[in-house]
Amino acid sequence: MTPDIPRMTGTDFTPSWFDTARVNRSAAERRASSLTARRSVKKDWQAAWLLRAVTCIDLTTLAGDDTPGRVQRLCAKARQPVRPDLLAALKVDPITVGAVCVYPTMVPHAVKALDGSGIPVASVATGFPAGLTPLPLRLAEITYAVEQGAAEIDIVITREHVLTGQWSALYDEVAAMRAACGDAHMKAILAVGDLKTLSNVYKASMVAMQAGADFIKTSTGKEDVNATLPVSLTMLRALRDFEQLTGQTVGFKPAGGLKTAKDALSWLILMKEELGTRHMMPDLFRIGASSLLGDIERQIEHHVTGRYSAANRHALT
């Protein structure tokens, strides 16, 4: 198994690490498009990579009509994301997804449904998705979710701080949220679709890490543009730079926009090429997705049977 990584602590606010950073969008786009053209994963390797992707999924429901029943169904799928007969055919031990991700009021239902599975419950918090409720309320929401049993908190940043260049305000806010999380791991959602420029994405990533984010995460899934490869590339480069500067290791979570098995492979290739194999494991890599799993299941069945599969042959989430 992969060795445990010490939890990151963050650093003092250090603007010199990012204030002159400029990211060239065209170059990032070229790299992102060539990256997936330069690598390919086939046959058993593809099956293995797709199963690895399943273990990295934060199986998510973040809808206004979520109910305890809906969450229980999701959790059942999280325990057994791939049909046991398929895993047996591939000679692979049972696997689970990385986490289940829900709204705060759904946390107790998820915790109950996942009891004994070892699967953590992640909760969004801090006025998700816009993050524009007063800070004390946002911090209180974190505390509530943690008290209800969430082991991971996905916070959203105040986009205003980025768009107006108030980096120390951003730092203070995220640091306060990290403190409120306590032992729960914190994923900082940058809502990259709102930040517009890749330079902003780089800077916001760096500030979030300085403030102690365990993971940096692309999107809420509610912005117009969610996870893209160029944005992810930019965040990974910030993450790499932070690791080189501090020796601390940070996780990455693309969310929204990953819908196909091919997408999952593309992001795994990105992780391997930019950060290395260690960053492809669920303690450092998560995929926020709701529909992705279904496509992966069909691909895995195809690998086992040689026949293209259909959605109704796999359990709903």
């Binding site: 065209s26 170059a27 390919s40 086939k42 390797w45 099956a47 795994l268």
Partner: protein
């Protein structure tokens, strides 16, 4: 084989081979040997066959015929026979053929990609995503030019038969770059592929048959350099186009010198790759991957000479090392490989030799330490640090996946270091500051400049080199112009020998001079100076009457003139409006002295034509003044969110050799285009009528022409011409002198591969604006620099 559970931990890529069944079947079908494609038919090879190797696994793919004189003769004959009908086809009909070729390339894209990868050793990713789509795009683009030829290029016509020799690094793509514009313009082709990589040309010939291309329009002869020499030297060839090494390009230049064949050369490079302190460093590192770790570094325009600003050098180098460690070298048909095989054992040995040489000279080598396959010509990527401009690895083209790194302190120093090379093919600049990036691009001597990107290509963007990287462009309007010539037939007869022999002798005896002794000088650096020889020659009119004496220039006067011109850099920097003003002023002052010139011309030249000649000279000043700010560049339609500029830049120092006929008008016709476009001109005046030039420099002196922008030397024209043509500081030379010198001028110019334009000693009617002025003059007074600027934050 590892089980899935293991792979879930190691997360290895595993093999991802591209299927090559179809290509193997095709190769089996050609087991008898690859021959030639002549007059629409496949000609079986005769004589001993050469082996065509797969460089990735040391196996023989095919056996190749070698075209000798009989095959080349019949190919040229076929092309000659087919050319008139091909040129007479309506442009739309030629467009249909080119469109069909493009479609067929697309329909066979996977086959061609696999074939090219096996033949050359380059990766399937690059052939699939680069070579083949770009080749198809080139034919689509030129289908358009064929359609539009009559309306877009009035008064221009095909050159005739084109002899084309292409290299092994992009076999199909270079074929497309050569064949598509030639065909679009109404030429026919004899093409000689590289003997290391002949297979995609054979497949292309099969496509020509499939689309029903008329017999003889495209002919392909296979063989080595000897076959290439037969093609380029063939008297039936009107235009030669070559892509390959500078050494061979120079040989071809000399081989066909004086033959009257048109020539374009796309040669080697040692292209700079500039990384400024404000660059996106990750983008720049990835740029290096695209520059020199692309196509195994076997790229003429590879940005292999990295210049990085000193303050960021350490960070840049560490990131470059990290990136290099991720590169995968191996089976070109494996879809996970970044770098395939070097094309041949000999080429691999050459690269390895240069890597060793670099280390011997003290540069520090950083190589990728990964394992290489046991068989095949694989070369690990690497780069040198602690290099200096004098190191062999900074001067010689390595043509392998090896870069060098030097540091610079300031923007000016970056440009100076970048230009410190005989070559001038391409350059790359990484900077997030648009002022800086474009400022550097403007200063670079390179035919293509990429900003914050590298190795971008498109059929609409002119590509080609400056300096010893060759002349001529491929792609876009400029590329097509290399396959067209003015449709008018030169009206003139062969130029007679000069009336005067410039012999140093004193004036005296019965040839008593005019009342006040007139001794014309030469005009260098804005000053009238005596000839270095300290001698003059007597000038007589056609009647034998003595008109005065003229300076007897020699090679040192040429040297001094070129030196003055070289220093007069300001002229290229002033606005086009300023240059126009100077040319208008020239016209004004010429007009003021109209009667004086008429009188002189009436004595030395045709009296009936004197007034008309002066009038035409004044008009010509106006015409080029008018063009100074109108013959400008363009923005090419290439990729979305890219501004692709093609600028028309002056050569720098231009030489012009002026004829005896219409001595004032012809001299101005040759000087003005260069001047209008910002060149500095060294003119060798008419040998028989030096006093016209001497009178003219007085006009120059009063017209605000900056010192050194125009220099006039009189004396023995052919001897002076030889010195000027051989001068490595002259970038372009136009010759309208003797037939004897015309036969030599291209050979003399081969040293620095200066661009030449020579009328072959055939006179034209300088009074006719169609013959004596025009866009053709302006085009030849400029070279295109293409600048790619991707944008969007």
């Amino acid at each position: 084989m590892p089980d899935i559970r293991d792979i879930m931990q190691t997360m290895e890529y595993g093999p991802a081979p591209e299927d090559n069944t179809e290509v193997v079947r095709w190769l089996d079908g050609h087991a008898a040997g690859i021959g030639h494609f002549i007059n629409g038919a496949f000609v079986a090879p005769t004589g001993p066959l050469a082996e065509v190797w797969n460089p990735a696994n040391d196996t023989v793919l095919a056996r190749l015929g070698h075209a000798g004189a009989p095959e080349v003769d019949s190919a040229v004959d076929a092309a000659r026979a087919a050319q008139p009908a091909w040129a007479e086809l309506p442009g739309h009909d030629r467009a249909r053929y080119l469109y069909a070729i493009a479609r067929h390339i697309q329909k066979r894209e996977r086959f061609l990609a696999v074939l090219e990868a096996m033949d050359n050793g380059k990766t399937i990713r690059e052939t699939r995503d680069g070579d083949v789509p770009l080749a198809a795009r080139h034919f689509y683009h030129h289908a358009g030019w064929a359609e539009l030829l009559d309306s877009e290029f009035p008064g221009q016509g095909a050159m005739g038969v084109c002899g084309q020799v292409i290299p092994w690094n992009f076999p199909l793509l270079m074929l497309a770059w050569k064949v598509a514009p030639a065909l679009a313009a109404g030429n026919t082709v004899v093409l000689k592929p590289a003997d290391l990589t002949p297979l995609s040309a054979q497949a292309f010939a099969e496509i020509c048959v499939e689309v029903g291309l008329p017999a003889g329009v495209v002919n392909i002869v296979q063989g080595d350099g000897a076959t290439g020499a037969l093609v380029t030297g063939h008297p039936g060839v009107d235009k030669v186009a070559f892509t390959g090494s500078t050494e061979v390009g120079r040989t071809i230049r000399r081989q066909i010198a004086g033959s009257g064949k048109a020539l374009t050369l796309e040669l080697g490079g040692k292209s700079p790759f500039i990384v400024c302190e404000d660059a996106d460093l990750d983008a720049a590192v990835e740029g290096v991957v695209d520059a020199v770790w692309f196509n195994q570094g076997e790229v003429c325009c590879a940005g292999s000479r990295i210049l990085v600003q000193e303050g960021i050098a350490a960070v840049f180098i560490s990131r470059l090392k990290a990136r290099m460690s991720k590169l995968r070298v191996g089976d070109p048909l494996d879809k996970t490989m970044d770098i395939g095989a070097i094309v041949s054992k000999a080429q691999l040995k050459r690269v390895q030799g240069l890597v060793a040489q670099g280390q011997i000279e003290g540069a520090v080598f950083h190589g990728n330490l990964g394992d290489l396959p046991a068989a095949g010509n694989f070369c690990a990527p690497g780069f040198f640090t602690q290099t200096s401009p004098a190191h062999t690895v900074n001067r010689e083209e390595i043509f392998g996946p090896i870069a060098t790194i030097m540091t610079f302190r300031t923007q000016d120093e970056a440009v100076t270091l970048a230009n410190d090379t005989r070559y001038g093919l391409a350059a790359t600049v990484f900077s997030q500051d648009i002022d800086r990036a474009i400022g550097i691009a403007a200063g670079l001597k390179a035919g293509v400049v990429w900003i914050n990107a590298t190795n971008l290509f498109d059929a609409a963007a002119p590509f080609g080199g400056m300096r010893e990287s060759g002349f001529g462009r491929e792609g876009g309007r400029s590329g097509l112009e290399s396959y067209l010539r003015p449709a008018f037939a030169p009206s003139g007869a062969p130029r007679p020998a000069p009336r005067l022999s410039p012999v140093a002798q004193p004036l005296g005896g019965e040839n008593a001079g005019p009342a006040i002794d007139v001794t014309a000088k030469i005009y260098i650096g804005g000053k009238q100076v005596r000839a270095d020889s300290g001698q003059s020659y007597t000038v007589t009119g056609p009647s034998g009457a003595v008109l005065g004496q003229a300076a007897l220039g020699n090679r040192k006067d040429i040297r001094n003139a070129v030196e003055a011109a070289t220093k007069a850099t300001g002229w290229g920097g002033v606005t086009a409006h300023n240059r126009a003003q100077v040319l208008y002023f020239l016209a004004e002052n010429l007009a003021q002295r109209r009667s004086e010139f008429e009188t002189l011309l009436a004595v030395v030249s045709n009296p009936k034509q004197a007034a008309a000649e002066v009038e035409a000279a004044i008009r010509r000043c106006f015409w080029y003044a008018a063009q100074a700010d109108k013959f400008d560049g363009a923005v090419q339609a290439t990729k979305s969110r890219h501004v692709t500029l093609s600028l028309k830049e002056p050569w720098g120092v231009m030489g012009v050799v002026c004829p005896d006929e219409a001595p004032l008008l012809s001299m101005l016709s040759l000087i003005l285009p260069g001047l209008a476009m910002g060149n500095r001109v060294v003119a060798i005046a008419s040998q028989s009528d030096p006093l016209v030039a001497a009178r003219f420099y007085q006009v120059l002196e009063t017209s605000d022409v900056p010192a050194g922008a125009v220099n006039l030397v009189t004396g023995p024209q052919d001897a002076l011409t030889k010195t000027l043509a051989e001068h490595d500081g002259v970038q372009c030379l136009w010759h309208c002198g003797s037939a004897e010198a015309a036969a030599q001028i291209e050979s003399w110019s081969a040293g620095n591969l200066k661009a030449t334009w020579c009328d072959g000693g055939v006179m034209r009617d300088w009074l006719d604006p169609v013959q004596g002025q025009g866009r053709d003059f302006l085009r030849r007074a400029t070279q295109v620099k293409t600048i790619w600027i991707p944008y969007g934050e």
